[in-house]
């Protein structure tokens, strides 16, 4: 039987160390909602999402109460809308109408974000893909809960540089359209290389075309729990350090597995995957950066950061894999800047730069995340940053992403506030040298060779 110390340990994790289930995300296929009429498509989309997910929030709250563990977000991801709207959207405005329909139904069922205003263009863009991408700035300005993502490359196809160029412009345009709200539109827009079909985390969640009718994916969290466990092994050797992270990750993931199983059973929707993640929030003590400091760094960004992060990421996976029957999504430590107080402190202290963050993305999920840059950064420079990050993902056969916010009207020394889980970010400097001639080339970067690994 369970003993008192195990109960106390679990409840201490929940009450004092911010252990929570970060999100239950229901993926819903909207392929059967496609039609040749925008109004009909919007209606079908709303009905299908409502029918599947109307009890999602209530069920999440029930599970949360019964086990005494917070379930922070209840969300929905849908089939990439570029596919759903391809038959009926003649203009960019037509796509925006679907975005509004998604926003309305998200509001109706009480979820905070809905992902899938997306296009998959890793090799080429169809006309409908391009229309959707061009509609993103307006769609994100006109909606509050819709999240957008675009897959720009993959290890098998290479990088679609035409789409990279277009996304640089799209990000700038999105920032301008939401300038009054700290360019928040860009916080809901992410570009990927090797995007996973079953990611439960926003802004990049979408329901891949290889998925079933509906699925429950769960993202766990718990940086505070890992940090506290590591406080007990200060100064010990690497073996002890790694074993401690592994054991803690196992416990954290088991909670996610339990919640996922219950949600799946109660909603009558198959369980998909657990995303083994350390996802920080701006709350004190809920920080991945603090774990890196506990491992032995003065601030993230110091020499040794990439190695420490690689170690952390790998142990989280090793501990988590055994705790869950199916693992997927992004799985790894997240290193967003605005959503992690320790990362913000590191930027303010001058320890952390975009270039070091880029190096860190080579060894963890996901990529350059929630980084605010000066509002006058050129579209070409943003495309250059994206291309660099896509190249890391392509060559290393891993998922990488960029969610970057050119804060209109702000520059280095300022900061921008998004509120809630999105936090606030100091504006980080971008390398001032140009890459226009590189970005203006047409076509794509070929897929890399898969032998002679060096």
């Amino acid at each position: 039987m369970i003993n008192q110390f195990e109960v106390i340990e679990t409840n201490k994790m929940i009450d004092e160390e911010n252990l929570d289930v970060r999100t239950i995300t229901m993926g819903i296929s909207l392929l059967d909602c496609a039609s040749s009429d925008v109004d009909k498509t919007c209606e079908a989309v709303k009905k299908k999402i409502y029918d599947h997910a109307k009890d999602l929030v209530k069920t999440g709250e029930e599970i949360s109460r019964e086990f005494g563990v917070p379930i922070v977000n209840k969300r929905v991801s849908v089939t990439p809308i570029s596919l759903v709207g391809a038959g009926c959207c003649k203009t960019e405005a037509d796509y925006v109408r679907i975005a509004k329909a998604l926003d309305e139904v998200a509001d109706e069922i009480g979820i905070n974000f809905l992902g899938g205003y997306s296009a998959l263009v890793s090799k080429g863009m169809s006309e409908s893909d391009e229309k959707l991408i061009r509609s993103i700035p307006q769609a994100l300005a006109d909606t509050g809960r819709v999240c957008s993502s675009v897959n720009l490359g993959s290890t098998r196809t290479g990088i679609n540089m035409d789409a990279v160029r277009l996304m640089g412009e799209t990000i700038v345009e999105t920032a301008k359209k939401t300038a009054e709200d700290g360019s928040i539109g860009c916080a809901k827009l992410v570009v990927f290389c090797n995007a996973p079909d079953d990611n439960p985390f926003m802004a990049g969640a979408f329901h891949g075309v290889t998925e079933g009718e509906a699925v429950i994916n769960v993202g766990v969290s718990g940086p505070g729990v890992v940090k506290t466990a590591l406080e007990q092994v200060r100064g010990k050797d690497f073996e002890t350090l790694c074993e401690t992270i592994k054991k803690t990750a196992f416990k954290v993931t088991r909670v996610g597995q339990l919640v996922a199983g219950e949600a799946s059973k109660r909603l009558g929707v198959p369980f998909g995957i657990i995303d083994l993640s350390l996802a920080p929030t701006p709350a004190i003590g809920d920080s991945v950066a603090d774990i890196l400091c506990e491992i032995g760094l003065e601030h993230p960004g110091a020499p040794g950061t990439t190695a420490a992060l690689a170690l952390l990421n790998d142990q989280v996976k090793k501990g988590g894999v055994m705790a869950s029957s199916y693992v997927g999504g992004l799985s790894g430590a997240f290193i967003p800047v605005s959503e992690d107080q320790g990362m913000i402190d590191a930027v303010n202290a001058g320890a952390l730069t975009i270039e070091k963050l880029e190096a860190m993305t080579c060894v963890c999920s996901v990529g350059l995340d929630m980084i605010a840059i000066p509002g006058d950064t050129s579209a070409a420079s943003i495309s250059g940053i994206i291309a660099d990050e896509m190249a890391i993902g392509m060559v290393n056969a891993k998922t990488t992403a960029v969610r970057i916010i050119p804060a209109i009207g702000k520059t280095v020394g300022d900061s921008v506030t998004f509120g809630g889980l999105l936090g606030y970010a100091p504006i980080m400097p971008v390398n001032r040298f140009a890459c226009d001639d590189f970005i203006n080339r047409k076509g794509r970067i070929p897929a890399p060779i898969h032998s002679f690994k060096n």
Binding site: M1, I2, N3, Q4, E6, V7, I8, E9, T10, N11, R65, E66, F67, G68, V69, K251, R254, V255, Q257, L258
Partner: protein
């Protein structure tokens, strides 16, 4: 015999007279059987853990939580009810 529906009830707070009595009276009135009970002092705080079986009870889990919240606020301690599975999952392979 039907499968037990085990819940873990934990009480954390300043030690006062009659905490266990109040909780036990409530459980007995609602036909909830107590399987195990233990208490300890952790960092100066009274910590009580009770394993109870809700099978056969005439109230729902939600009602149990509400009842315990009420008792907790009356005597100034925090009372938490959780289904057993979360501890099993986390601490048993």
């Amino acid at each position: 015999m039907e499968k037990a529906e085990k819940v873990i009830i934990t009480v954390v707070g300043k030690d006062t007279v009659g905490i266990i009595a109040k909780v036990c009276t409530f459980l007995s009135e609602k036909k909830i059987n107590i399987l195990d009970i233990s208490q300890t002092i952790v960092s100066g705080f009274f910590n009580m853990m009770m394993i109870a079986d809700m099978n056969g009870s005439d109230i729902s889990f939600g009602d149990l939580c509400d009842g315990m919240d009420k008792i907790g606020s009356e005597i100034g301690v925090s009372i938490k009810c959780q289904k057993e599975e979360i501890f099993d999952e986390m601490h048993r392979i």
